[in-house]
Symmetry: C2
Subunit: 213 residues, 2 copies
């Protein structure tokens, strides 16, 4: 297909595609004339992945290049691909794990659950930061409470993985995992807010505190 | 207690407390001398609520005043207090429900679940926006999938409500609900990311695609 068709199918403007080609984020097409090239399905898939890394995950062009390089080196390992695309595993081999607040609590939770997660996972620090700020407000989160939330997160994650399991191509699977993971976040928080409202209505109707208003 | 003690117990600087007093966010203390006043537990609790509305929910001083006024008018209704503090129910009686993208799908989900939620709940729009952006990316979310996520959100909300149930004072309960709801959000998203990584490791180890790397 021509670059115009690639643009139409991907929704990415031609000028942006040309920029990605110049930056090496997209491999060149097969030259058919001095100023024309043919592109195929692999370009379309790669373009979707680049768009997800830049537009959804918010990576810079150079960080995207680094992730794409790491992906190319590990195409056989679906778990690693997913981790690289989602940022749970760093593309840079020299990266150091970030400092995790309340690290002992985070480690204790992961050990109790028996979860297999990279020491680099940025979610460790995100979890630790919440534990720290709640503790500073006099609301420490006991391990048992955290485990109960984690058990529900486990089932949510199983739903997430089910949704990408129909995809054969490992890179396409990783791209869909990224899009579904990041874009579903506000929806999951919204569902919790709606569910809280319903649960509060239910509990307060079942045991009224002060009689009819 | 003196204002200095109120500052120490709440962690709010004296200058900020004086500002809140001038703005009417905090009722005046009992005057004991021309330039001195006594404060009590009700001031401390009110201060914690103001801090949560401004610092955690990010309200302006005038919006906080409006919420405090609405709370004062409905102290007997715990469900309403919770909704007002969390922003699920508007403090302004003339507020109009926000436009909800994919409103038919959001309504269908809430009807299927039998949830009791205000037409004003901002989470309706947040959910609809995600559904719209996923659809535009060719990833529409089927009602069955959404219901499965919602069932887990229901159980998460029950854990949330359990955590505030030990508090007798309705305003304190609402303040704790706000802090725990908002500050737990990044932790819940982090738990999902960690759980996804673990689930991916589990699935890809159980059914290796390409043999050992």
């Amino acid at each position: 297909m021509r670059i115009s068709e690639l643009s139409r199918l991907s929704g990415v403007p031609t000028a942006t595609i040309k920029y990605y080609l110049r930056e090496g984020l997209l491999p060149p097409g097969r030259a058919t004339a001095a100023t024309q090239a043919e592109y195929d399905e692999t370009h379309l898939r790669r373009l979707r992945l680049v768009r997800a890394l830049i537009g959804v995950r918010g990576l810079s062009v150079s960080a995207t290049k680094e992730v794409l390089g790491a992906l190319a080196a590990h195409v056989d390992d679906r778990h690693l691909l997913l981790g690289l695309v989602l940022g749970a595993i760093p593309a840079d081999e020299n990266a150091q794990p970030a400092a995790v607040p309340c690290a002992a609590e985070v480690d204790a939770l992961i050990a109790e659950l028996g979860w297999e997660v990279s020491p680099y996972a940025p979610a460790r620090a995100a979890l630790g930061e919440t534990l720290e700020s709640l503790r500073s407000l006099g609301e420490p989160v006991p391990l048992a409470t955290l485990s109960a939330y984690a058990a529900l997160a486990e089932r949510t994650a199983a739903l997430d993985l089910d949704r990408i399991s129909g995809t054969d191509d490992p890179l396409e699977q990783a791209e869909r995992a990224l899009v579904l993971t990041v874009l579903m976040e506000p929806a999951l928080l919204a569902l919790r807010r709606l569910a809280q409202e319903n649960e509060s209505a239910r509990r307060n109707a079942a045991a009224p505190e002060g009689g009819p208003a």
